[in-house]
């Protein structure tokens, strides 16, 4: 009788232990899968009307590296700067060469003579079109963080996110002037650069445009460094720029229209030369993660994006009838 009672107690205890363990397991699983009552929802802003999407992706190819600095386009070739390599591809994605660079690149551009300019953290180097090192500038100091280069004729514009300034230099690295320093007398608001996203480009006339990412504006500077004009819209909506550092990257077509790339909610958009929103090249749904793809444009109005999340070069072409 006693033994029977002990057995019953033991069985009940065993069952209780199984129930407790099972409940704990199920409870933990359910807890991990439950909805977030405090969800930060930006789905509404990720939606883009299909009629606003003017481009379609024609091709993409992988670029293997641990880190990608930037992309540039010259004639029918694509230049990609990675952590310690300079890669050249044709437009089909076939690699033409891979050359080791002398340091870790932070940005890249190609000039009209097909010379490749690479920004390292605080100095600039220039390679010829075959990837042979031609020039190395002196350092601009430890505080410098070069994030973009634009070349127009003898002028090399270097965006320095560390000092929040654009250096106008000659091709040998001698500073001609500093552009964008806050100057209330001249009506220059100064660059607000919260993080190392500070892009520059020159338009068809060789005039400098810089993205003032903290203010969500593009600023246009004359040759003498005076502020010529600016445009920009601060908004989460499709026609604006939001967050601390947008537009993170941009490029200018030869008709002086702008292609912009944003971080946070990655998207690539098209604006006319006056800053009027025209349409979308690639909506947020085309990207994963939050990194802004670096972008370049060619003379056929194609947009070539370096997608850091997918580790791909992606080529977008304008839709022929606007809907395909």
């Amino acid at each position: 009788m006693n033994r029977k009672l002990v057995n019953i107690v033991l069985i009940v205890l065993a069952l209780a232990i199984v129930v407790i363990i099972g409940k704990d397991f199920v409870g933990k699983k359910a807890g991990k899968n439950m909805d977030n009552p405090y969800e930060y929802n930006i789905d509404e802003f990720r939606k883009v009307d299909s009629t606003q999407i003017l481009y379609t992706e024609k091709l993409h190819f992988p670029v293997k590296a641990h880190y990608w600095a930037g992309i540039a386009v010259s004639d029918s070739t694509i230049i990609v700067a990675t952590d310690n390599h300079l890669l050249k591809f044709d437009l089909s994605g076939k690699q033409i060469f891979s050359k080791q660079t002398i340091d870790t690149a932070t940005c890249v551009t190609v000039d009209e003579n097909r010379q490749i300019w690479i920004g390292m953290r605080h100095y600039v180097v220039m390679y010829d079109q075959n990837g042979t090192l031609v020039k190395r500038w002196n350092s601009f100091g430890d505080r410098a963080v070069f994030t973009s280069i634009a070349v127009s004729g003898e002028n090399v514009y270097v965006a320095d996110a560390g000092n929040r300034i654009v250096y106008q230099c000659n091709t040998n690295g001698q500073t001609v002037q500093k552009i964008g320093e806050k100057d209330e007398q001249k009506g220059i608001p100064g660059f607000v650069i919260p993080s190392p996203y500070f892009d520059v480009a020159t338009d068809d006339n060789g005039i400098l445009w810089a993205a003032n990412t903290g203010r969500h504006t593009f600023e246009n500077y004359n040759q003498d460094g005076s502020l010529r004009t600016s445009w920009g819209v601060t908004s989460f909506k499709i026609e604006g720029f939001s967050g601390c550092c947008n537009p993170a990257h941009f490029a200018i077509f030869n008709d002086n229209s702008f292609i912009t790339s944003e971080k946070g909610m990655p998207r690539i958009k098209l604006y006319d030369q006056h800053g009027q929103f025209i349409g979308v090249v690639a909506p947020p749904a085309a990207f994963s993660g939050s990194l802004a793809p670096d972008i370049a444009v060619d003379e056929q109005q194609r947009v070539i994006a370096l997608d850091f999340e997918r580790q791909q070069v992606r080529i977008f072409e304008k839709k022929k009838d606007g809907n395909n």
Binding site: N33, E39, V192, P194, T234, S290
Partner: protein, 201 residues
């Protein structure tokens, strides 16, 4: 009969004596061992790895403390001091102001202070923060990620089995040494006591 009992009595006494001595030695050794272990090993506390956190909202509801011992902290050296702050303003805010309808935080625990054009400082009122991570999601999505969650050890009960850690989908909770209890983003803790700096924030 008595001859037989005598040796048995001696055996039992010896056994008891040696048993007592053994038990005393073991307990003394045990106490000494535990003391040594305690004095040499570090105490551990729970903390969130901000780079693993996925802002799921569990920290607000699963903590045994009410409100949660998990709070938003601000790494000021990472902050962009933006006017359009993704951590402070709702994505569909109709204006960049401190009006309640524009604030993302459900408890208005973030204070926005003007510094100079175009910079604003954002300060967390920990007494109001419930650790929901809504602001962290906004800041991480659109900003530099300077807002992030940490277990505040002036509130945490340091439960053996943390109820938030049990349901954390990203397994961002981990045990860290009690003498370095915070995993603050950026260089916020450099050169000083992180607790003091957090309180200043």
């Amino acid at each position: 009969m008595s001859d037989k009992k005598e040796p048995k009595s001696i055996e039992r006494r010896r056994f008891l004596r040696s048993g007592m001595q053994m038990a005393l030695a073991v307990s003394l050794g045990g106490v000494a061992g535990v003391s040594l272990l305690k004095s040499t090993s570090k105490d551990l506390v729970w903390q969130i790895d901000p780079f693993k956190c996925v802002q799921c909202g569990r920290c607000a509801d699963e903590c045994v403390m009410t409100p949660s011992a998990v709070k938003c902290v601000h790494a000021y050296d990472l902050c962009g001091y933006c006017d359009l702050c993704g951590g402070y303003l709702k994505p569909d805010a109709n204006a960049r102001t401190t009006a309640a309808e524009n604030q993302l935080c459900p408890t208005a625990a973030i204070k926005r202070q003007y510094i100079e054009e175009p910079y604003f400082e954002y300060v967390i009122d920990e007494s109001l923060c419930i650790g929901c991570a809504k602001c962290v999601a906004g800041c991480t999505s659109f900003g530099n990620g300077s807002l992030h969650l940490q277990v505040r050890h002036d509130r945490c009960k340091n439960c053996n089995d943390c109820s938030i850690a049990r349901v954390c989908p990203a397994e961002a909770f981990q045990r860290v040494p009690a003498d370095t209890p915070y995993l603050i983003k950026g260089g916020f803790t450099k050169g000083g006591n992180s607790e003091d700096k957090l309180k200043k924030g």
